[in-house]
Every structure is written in structure tokens, then in C-alpha cells.
Symmetry: C2
Subunit: 411 residues, 2 copies
Amino acid sequence: MGLARGVAVVGAGMTRFHHKLHLDKTSRDLFVEAALEALDSVDKGMNLRDIEALYVGNFSSDAFEHQGHLGAIMADWLGVTPVPSVRIEDACASSGVAIQLGILAIASGAFDVVMVGGVEKMRNLSTEEVTDTLAMAADEIYEASVGATFPGLYASMATAHFAKYGSTWEELAAISIKNHHNGSLNPKAQFQEEIMDMARRWGARRGYSFKDEMEFLRSPLNPVVAYPLRLFDCCPTSDGAAVVILASEEVAKKFTDTPIYVRGIGQASDTMALHDREDLTTLKGTRIASRTAYRMAGIEPRDVDLAEVHDCFTIAEVLATEDLGFFPKGEGGKAAVEGRTALDGEIPVNPDGGLKAKGHPVGATGASMVYEVFKQLRGEAGRVQVDDAEVGLIHNVGASGGTVVVQIYGR
Amino acid sequence: MGLARGVAVVGAGMTRFHHKLHLDKTSRDLFVEAALEALDSVDKGMNLRDIEALYVGNFSSDAFEHQGHLGAIMADWLGVTPVPSVRIEDACASSGVAIQLGILAIASGAFDVVMVGGVEKMRNLSTEEVTDTLAMAADEIYEASVGATFPGLYASMATAHFAKYGSTWEELAAISIKNHHNGSLNPKAQFQEEIMDMARRWGARRGYSFKDEMEFLRSPLNPVVAYPLRLFDCCPTSDGAAVVILASEEVAKKFTDTPIYVRGIGQASDTMALHDREDLTTLKGTRIASRTAYRMAGIEPRDVDLAEVHDCFTIAEVLATEDLGFFPKGEGGKAAVEGRTALDGEIPVNPDGGLKAKGHPVGATGASMVYEVFKQLRGEAGRVQVDDAEVGLIHNVGASGGTVVVQIYGR
């Protein structure tokens, strides 16, 4: 696959992701907030009249807000009518796919500047309702209708991985600890707190004291959600939005001296129901999408300086770092324990805290990954800045891997 | 707007649209049925391995079937994994937009063959629930939550049009009569019956006898839904799917000697809430999208040989035939009365029966329009064949005009 012309990111913005802060807002408020921040981030200046099309990733404002047709809603609310507007839904990969389609739209010659973002307003509903709503992203006939929800589906992958590779829950815990550490340094993250600090705070309220994170994570304060996944192995539910602005290579320099170029893209689908997979310890979609993207970018996994991967559950980060080719199968968790994916490790993974600590407003997550890579490659990532970041990868997964998107960006 | 390379339709299929026939099927059954018919229609042969990406238009299988993530579901069910799959939602324009994005994807160089379709399985829910579900496509804050549903919104456009142009309900009735006539000749249509035949059948059951259609349409058997719109001014709810196969100009001839080429495309958004519109007697999105498409195709409205327009309500066909430039403002209804939009008229509109008689499974409608144009331009449209059809236009509207897509096809 080669594109007819090059595409770059010239701006990016996001709201803070949060479970409480945005309760009085709707998805349109959140999307507009992120969109205006993205516009403001275009250093040589851009205004709404420069936007030629608007792509919105969203999983289910239908269920969350009784509002469909979100492309047109956002075009209206943002004030960019009559430009073409589109809503794209691919479960938790909605905005990753939306960005993919925005890239293709520019490459086609149809547009020079496309705004692409994602939004989800999940916290209107109770946790039980959210779990049921998210289960629509699984196979309704074979999974959701018989009670399977995502914690259970990913728990199946975890036990399969443990059985095949001898990996352990302690390895998963290391990922949670790392991502909370990174989140503690990210002003946009939902949880800006080290796990040890939460352990002290939660423990004090309930009469516990913990000598270290692992004691806390093994305690009743971190209950099992679906064995072997405990509470701190699961990302939270969140409200939030993230928006990026894409431009053709021809016009990108008009807007910024430091565009971040799209180097490679890949996308794959897979069977929805887990029972149809040959192997539960890998996401085939990740392997295929990443190989496509690496080939287009002309690089190898070792050339990636930082990666934003889809850690909806800690086991998902293990699978991702293996399937993306950063580590051999079975060694993703061990790599986290050894600090190889830490901010100062050989391949920093989820420097922004990942879904675990940054939060996961599902439709916004892919765009928030590109936001982070954009900041990193421009050296504007603040306290989570990775040294000499020149190549960044994003990996956004829909459901249990039915959709996977990989994009590689470079300076 | 110019595309980096040309695109053609090489195959098309659709299920019959219906309110009862598909009650025991799910949207995946319907989509696969249409997709396999589309494959079979490729006269020089094509199989699933030729499909490089799958785009699915769907309004809300979330609400209708508790099933999101429809791109991956359809890729799985059809057996085309691991190709990239995407679900696109833009209310009733979902598959029109999906085809637009499929065209851009091929033009970008990313793919040579893309399958694009749409599906909706609406009849699982009661009429009241369907009306509420469709209302999600309007503005939830200013319209749906205060009781506005689509019959009411389009009724407002009708009364505004009557007031401004002196148009009449009798003109709307002429559209319904024409579209039912066309539907009576189309084996894929939901209602394959002339209105006069329905009048006899319904009348006999209830002790009425009618001398002509107009007496029936003015009777209590055609009740007012939202003044001035009566039952026969409103399209039905339906189950169904339609699928087309797009190919780059370079490879199209490998699959068929008679590809149907994309000559022009246009898309526009508009304010969602009607209270924000300057004028209720026009859809600005139709004017903008069609002017874009005409310019790209290098043609004028008078060059169009047949048009598939979005007649969710009869008044919508009046607005469409005016806003597309076929007739001056205020004369769309009169043109229907005079037979100028009939199968043998100067510009046949909705030869397949339109949404009114063919049915309107909302996510499938745009693709069904392209299906019809494909058949017409190849001379394969059976009893609704328009003589010497060389240029066909489709016009697909989301909600009350928040999204409008126009595509022009030629031999």
C-alpha cells in the first residue's frame, strides 16, 4: 500500500480525561473544547475556515446520550458547517480508525486539511449500564447475550498467556504501576497519582497500611474483577475528547514549521468471538496491522522510540508489546518488570499513562494517542518527554481485537 | 476537489427491503446476503479474496440489536478478515457517506477494491421505539428531548414550502402515487403495489370504495401523521441491506467490461436544529453537495438522466428535485403532478420506488440508490429501466439535512 500523497499532523488538543470533572457537559462540549485547543496548537495560526472536513470517532453516544449523527452535531456545534462531516464507529478503535480515514481522505486529493477527533461521554450511565453498553462491541449473539463482558474476555486471554508462557499476575501489576507513574506526571490524565500514593490514601481511610505497591495490589482493596484481572488491571470509564488536525504535506508547512509526518499506517480486522481464534495469546490484528505500517514506513520495531498501546487491561499491554514486535512472545510482562518499557527504558510504552491511568473515553482514545505522539515528537511532552523521540507508534484496538489500527509518525 | 485517481462500481447487490420478510434475521444475515449478490453480479468474476477493505454504513444497530462494532462483525460474518473494516454512521445517509469514503480510500491509493454497503434491521422494535430511536439523528438537546420527531420536522418544512410557494398537499400526493407505481415494478421493493390497488384492498376490508387514488388518500384510511403529512407521505420502516463493490479505474476492467464510473461526488453538513436554518424550504446541504458534484463531473442538472433522491417524506422529494436544480424553487411538486419525474418523464426520479415504496432501512438506503443507478446505467433495471440512461445521480440525506451526500455516476 502506498499513498498518493503525504500527510502530516499540524495540531492536536485534548480535554483532561476524567470520571467526575465533566459530569455537567455533553459530548459536544468536550469535542469543541478539544477542537479549539487543537486549533490553538497550530503554531503559525489556523482558524475554523481552514478546516475542509470533520471526522468524528465515537463508540455509542446513541446509548450514552441518546444522540446519533455525531458528525453533523459536531460540525454544527463547532461552527464548521457546511463542510463534510462523518462519524466513524469501530468500538474502542473509533478515533484511531477515524484518523486512518482522514489520512486516506487527504491522500485522495479531496481535502488538504481535515480535523479528526474522538469523544465519549460515558459517565452519564451507571457502571453496570456502561459495562452492558460496552458489551455491544463484542459479538452480541455468541458473547454479550450470554453474559460475556470485556473484563472476562481479556481475563481469558490472560489465563491463556499464563498457561502458555508461564507469565504471571505480578508482571501485569508492573504494567499498572508503570502506567500510574506516567499518569502522575501527565496533566491530562484521569489518575495523576502513583499507586503507592493511592495505597496510602485508600489504606488510611480503611485502616490498612501497606509496605509497598505489591502488598496493596494483592490486598482486598484491589479486588478480583475477572480472574486473574483485579481492579488495577482494568482501565477506568471516562469522559473526554481528543482532536488532531491533519494536513497534506503540500500545505503543512503553511501551518507549522514542525509538522509530524504520517510514516506508515495499517489496519486489520479479526473474528469477533474469541472462540473462533486460533490463539488467545496474541491479537492477530496487531501483528498484521503493524507489519503493514512498518513496511510502509520502512522501519523495524527496534526503530520505534515510543509507543502508545491499547492497555484497556494490563494483559492487553503485554500482548501489544509482543505482537508489535518489541519483545518476543511471552516476554512482554517481564520487560515491564525489568523497566524496559519505562519512560527511561529502551522502548517507553504509554508515556502518557495509557488507558489505565490517562483514562479511556472509548471513542477518544485513538486520537489521544496521536495527541501524545505529536507532543512527544515535537519535544513538548513536559514531564513525560521521552529523550530524542523521533519515531512514535500508536496502537488502538476495538473490542477484543476485532479491529486494530497501527500508525507510525515521524518528525 | 479532484481525486488522485478514478473509481468505478463493478458490482452491486441488495436484499429485498421489507417490514415482515426478515423478522427472523439479524443485520449480519442481511448484509451477507446483499454482499454475496454483489459479488455474483461481477460479470467477469470476483471472490472474497479480491476484497481489500470493507465499509459498512449503519445508523444504530446499537439500539436496534444491541450490536455495535458492525464493521468487524460483517468482516467476520462475510469471511473477509483480516481486511480493514469500518462502520460509518451519518443517520439516514450512513451508506451514502460510506460509499463516499470508499471512493476516497481507493483514490488515495490505499486499496484497489473496496466493498461498501449498508444495513439496518429496524423491525425488531415497535413503531414507537423506532420513532424514538430515529429521533437520535436529530438534535437531542433542542429537538428530540422536547418531542420533535422526523414526521414533525419534515411537516414544518412542508408548511413553510406551502406558505412560501403556494405548493399543495395534492402535489405531495402525486409523488406518493408515482413512487408506488415505480415500486410496483421493482422486485426488490417493500411495497410492490399501486396505491389504487391498495385502496381497493384496504377499502374492501373496511367497507369503503374509492373512485380514484386521491379519494383514498383524502380518506380516514390515510390519516394525518403530522399536518400536512399523511401516512402515504411518509416512508415505512424496513429491514434490508445493500452492497456495492468499488474498484480503481486501473483494475475495474479486470472485473467487468461495463464498469460504472464515479463522475462527481459532493457532501455537506448543515445545522442540526431546524430553528438555526435561514430557510425551511430548502436543504442547503443539497445545494452545496450537488454543486460540488456537478462541478467535478463537469455537467449541469439537465444532463442527469435519472435521479435517486431521498424521499423519506414526499415533501423531501419536492425539496430535492428543486435543490438539485432539476426544477426552479416552488415547482418540484408541480413537476411531479405533470409527470415530468415519472419513469417516462424528462428526468425520472426514484425509478425504484424511492424510500416511499422501496422501503427505508436507514443505513442501507444510500447503497440501495447506488445499486439502482448501477443497474440503470448498465441497462439491467428490468421493468423500471429508463431509456438511454447514461448519467445517474444519487442524493442521500441524513436526518433533516444535517448531512447530505450527492454522487454522480456515468457509463
